[in-house]
């Protein structure tokens, strides 16, 4: 458990730094943003930051980055942020489809054969219960696939692995963002930063400096 908390702390710091970097770049990009754009900026840079902590080693991070880069305006932003190292890989969809088709046909034959065998062995009720359970699991897997970015063409095993990683990253993201939000709120109350909407960025940075000083 100790190792795990240490690892997540470093993860949080990395995410925080990248997030700040993203926000700074974005604000340099567009000087005056209204509230909606600000929200978009924050969320975007947060997503990019958390995806980049994985260094494109997981499917979800790659898909997330790719989805963000799909938007033209964001693309420039993304390229600016990751001018140094980031490689945005994407598996050729055609190759995936061919492989999954072959596997799918084999699975279908196998499944029908198995149900025949099972229907002979077990009673009809057991078979039906089992098929219902399988259908439930299948539906839920489909929903999960839609939730996790990039989870569409993955089989059960890697899907669960990706989900695991994704949940960990989401938790880190939420934790850091929440701390920032509460810290900003406290600092506003204490009068450390300005409340004005124009200076929201400076306010955040003041808070962040305080926090980084605390952490290190």
């Amino acid at each position: 458990m100790k190792a795990r908390t240490g690892y997540s702390t470093s993860l949080k710091q990395e995410f925080l730094k990248k997030w700040i970097k993203g926000i700074r770049i974005y604000s340099n990009f567009k000087k005056d943003m209204n509230i909606l754009e600000r929200k978009k900026a924050i969320k975007l840079s947060a997503d990019l930051a958390i995806a980049s902590t994985r260094n494109a080693s997981t499917r979800w991070s790659r898909t997330l980055t790719a989805n963000i880069s799909k938007n033209e305006t964001n693309k420039i932003f993304v390229e600016q942020i990751f001018s140094d190292s980031e490689v945005i890989k994407k598996e050729a969809p055609s190759r995936l489809m061919a492989r999954s088709n072959r596997i799918a046909s084999k699975k279908i034959w196998r499944r029908s054969h198995i149900t025949q065998i099972k229907a002979r062995k077990m009673g009809p009720y057991a078979v039906k219960a089992r098929s219902i359970a399988k259908k439930l699991v299948k539906n839920r897997t489909k929903v999960l696939k839609s939730l996790v970015p990039g989870g569409e063409n993955m089989d059960g095993i890697s899907l669960i692995k990706e989900t695991l990683d994704y949940i960990v990253s989401l938790r880190v993201q939420v934790d850091v963002m929440r701390r920032l939000a509460s810290a900003a709120e406290n600092s506003t109350r204490l009068g450390l930063s300005s409340k004005c909407s124009v200076h929201w960025l400076q306010g955040i940075f003041t808070v962040l400096d305080h926090w980084c000083a605390m952490v290190h």
């Binding site: 509230i35 696939k145 095993i157 669960i160 989900t163 949940i167 929440r178 506003t188």
Partner: protein
């Protein structure tokens, strides 16, 4: 049968007591292959100990009574001395042969000798044991050479359960091709020899040893590379397809177990309900990210546009996702839109609307605190709130909280009491607003 086993037991115990240090050093180099050749040290002391044992067998027998408390059926230990006298010579020969082979050969030969040893004991006292099948035997025998050669028991025993030594599994199964169920019984007894060594494993290993059929089949049944014909477990096919399926299912199961630690409320054993919890948790986290990106923007006034934006986002994203357009999402969207519209006009009517729906507004920090209190999770942050509410709102009214406004949205999963027998869970959004 029993006495011979006890002799082995004695050897093992003394190897523990005398050479814990050296064995642990050797264990540091342990990998999948058996390390018979590196264990010269124990053999010399084994010789000495065996001589001691031969001279003082009754005393050694009595010393072993303390470790057999876990198995009630071992009352047949009461007749040690008579049987011992019969088997002394045989056992001495076999044991010396065994240790010779320990130095020079691999695990297979050791197993062969041990099996000869056990067979020579006769199968008289075996009726008391319930046969647990070949799987029990092989896991028991598998533990014998590994325990004889190194003292790092936790790894070894767990390894034998979880087949981290595929080579050993394969060789053991190969040896078992010709054996009958009775041998399984004798071997089953032999695995009880390791109870004293298994003491430091805790409860997890011992019940595993007592019911090796379950773990043995999962551990030994799926060797990584079966070099020989795999002996069929009882009631399971040796079909490569089913083995592959079993392997796949195990991998999924172990990953789900890892997920169980992350997701709160994950004490469900059912796969479908675990998936349900996972889905809810992921949705919750994603929603939190979205909300947190809105909060503390410093803009005191324009709250409603944010809400409207969120609902429009959700609507657009739902349009693209065909799979997840369920009843829940639609009701949520509708409610959200309504609330957003109302909030633009008048906060009061918006609040009344929410209350009529059985929802409320609260700051997200309070929501977190509540969910931490009601939820069984270890992590106070992560809680999909399962609150049973009737049509009463969660908390009445608003909160005069922090000075500056913060928008936060909390997903509350409320299951209606009574009314619906099926207990549907409709996910509703409670928009929170604090003045």
């Amino acid at each position: 049968m029993q006495p011979g086993g006890r002799e082995l037991e004695a050897m093992n115990i003394n190897s523990l007591l005398n050479q814990e240090q050296s064995l642990q050093e050797m264990n540091n180099h342990q990998n999948g292959q058996p390390q018979m050749s590196s264990h010269f040290d124990p053999t010399s002391s084994h010789d000495d100990f065996l001589d001691q044992m031969m001279s003082s067998i009754p005393s050694s027998n009595s010393s072993f009574n303390w470790d057999v408390s876990s198995d009630a059926a071992r009352a047949d230990h009461a007749l040690p001395s008579t049987l011992l006298s019969q088997f002394d010579d045989q056992s001495a020969q076999l044991i010396s042969k065994l240790r010779q082979h320990q130095i020079s050969s691999g695990a297979a030969k050791v197993l062969m000798l041990q099996q000869q040893l056990l067979l020579s004991r006769g199968l008289t006292g075996n009726g008391l044991r319930t046969p647990s099948g070949a799987s029990g035997g092989e896991s028991g025998l598998l533990q014998i050479p590994l325990n004889l050669t190194n003292g790092d028991h936790a790894d070894v025993v767990d390894g034998s359960f979880q087949s981290t030594n595929p080579a050993d599994d394969a060789s053991v199964q190969g040896l078992f091709n010709g054996f009958t169920g009775t041998l399984g019984q004798t071997a089953n007894q032999s695995q009880h020899f390791h109870h004293p060594q298994a003491q430091n494993f805790g409860a997890s290993a011992v019940p595993g040893m007592n019911q090796p059929a379950a773990s043995g089949s999962t551990g030994g049944g799926t060797p990584a590379q079966p070099r020989q014909r795999v002996r069929a477990r009882r009631g399971q096919a040796t079909d490569p397809h089913s083995i592959a399926e079993r392997l796949r299912r195990e991998r999924i199961a172990e990953r789900m177990k890892a997920l169980q630690e992350l997701v709160p409320n994950a004490n469900k054993t059912d796969k479908a309900s675990m998936l349900d919890e996972i889905i809810d948790y992921v949705k919750f986290l994603q929603l939190q990210v979205k909300v947190l990106s809105m909060s503390r923007l410093g803009g005191a006034t324009a709250v409603a546009p944010l809400v409207a934006d969120m609902s429009s986002e959700r609507r657009s994203s739902n349009g693209t996702q065909t799979a997840s357009s369920s009843n829940n999402n639609e009701t949520m969207t509708v409610t959200e839109n309504q609330v957003a519209k109302l909030m633009e006009e008048d906060m009061g009517t918006a609040m009344q609307y929410l209350q009529g729906k059985g929802l409320c507004l609260m700051p997200i920090s309070l929501a977190t605190a509540i969910s931490a209190a009601t939820c069984h999770s270890r992590n106070p942050l992560a809680a999909t709130n399962n609150l049973n509410t009737s049509n009463n709102p969660l908390i009445s009214g608003e909160h005069g909280g922090p000075t500056s406004p913060s928008m936060s949205v909390l997903t509350v999963q409320s299951a209606a009491i009574g009314g619906n027998g099926a207990g549907e869970a409709s996910v509703k959004d409670a928009t929170s607003f604090s003045k």
